[in-house]
Symmetry: none
Subunit: 154 residues, 2 copies
DNA sequence: TGGGATTATATGGGCGTCAATGGGATATAT
DNA sequence: ATATATCCCATTGACGCCCATATAATCCCA
């Protein structure tokens, strides 16, 4: 599977459209090129996005939870009701819904951050900040990629 | 199968009609596009809705329960006696029955919440509240979410 | 390997279509 | 008749489709 990698800053036009970075479009699975899924991150005030294919896989697992459980209801509400299927136009652009703009403070431009199987969309200043902090934290904790990869698998 | 996803707030007109959101209409199975099933939620003061096809499938499962069991009787009663078959007009609108309006406190507008195989209809403020609470609970239990979503595929 | 030629990407904007909503007219039932 | 259910048509705003352009990236060949 292709991964979402690297960072891009794109502009929002008068109609509210913004281009999904080209290499992110290429990372979308075949047969799922024209639609992405947006949702609020559970961690920060950022938007997360992924392919429809990935959401389908997650959806199946949720639907297999016990039918009448509280969990099932919470999960379905948070996941199914808060995901926003979003179409790309022929040029690879999409509209960021108002609710998500408010949630993230995005106005005239936005930063796309590749996260592997998904990506994040942030207000550019916050994006910069987040990247700096993530890096600091890793260095402070002396975590290297090598050490993480060598950890016992769960 | 298509799922009911995302959230929409629509208005009820003078005649009591409300539009089923377009993407919910698209999520209805072929051959079952003009009719939906409404019933009271067993969990909250909300309406739940789904396709006729889904009800048929549930009916089959109930029929397979032990004929003399309590469960069979409870399910038959609460499901079959309380479901309300509802037709959509050419524009995709339907009328919310008075009993259900009272049950949910819905007056001039209603929120549709996608829940995967079914959807919920709530008074907008309550909908907002429910989503906020589900989200909080989910963030608290993020570990379990992560584990569920990353579980080995079956 | 340098540099013009070609292509791709991000962005701008016109326009037609569709969804949500409103309301009149007709038919059916209580 | 009064209320309810359909059908039909109208309006409005949002969105998708199409075409255009400038800048950036890539190619290709002398």
């Amino acid at each position: 599977m292709e991964l979402f990698v690297s960072t891009f800053i794109n502009k929002i036009d008068k109609k509210g459209r913004i281009s999904l970075p080209s290499i992110f479009r290429n990372a979308l699975p075949k047969d799922y090129k024209n639609e992405i899924i947006l949702y609020k991150s559970l961690r920060h005030n950022s938007i997360e996005g992924c392919s429809v294919k990935r959401i389908n896989e997650i959806a199946n697992r949720i639907n297999n939870l016990d039918f009448f459980s509280e969990d099932q209801d919470d999960f379905s509400t948070s996941i199914f009701s808060e995901i926003i299927p979003t179409n790309l136009d022929k040029e690879g652009r999409f509209v960021i819904p108002d609710t998500l703009k408010k949630f993230t403070n995005i106005t005239s431009e936005a930063t796309f951050i590749g996260q592997g199987y998904y990506f994040q969309i942030l207000e550019p200043r916050k994006a910069k900040q987040k990247q700096t902090e993530s890096r600091k934290r890793l260095i402070l904790e002396k975590k290297s990629l090598t050490s993480i990869l060598n950890e016992k698998r769960k």
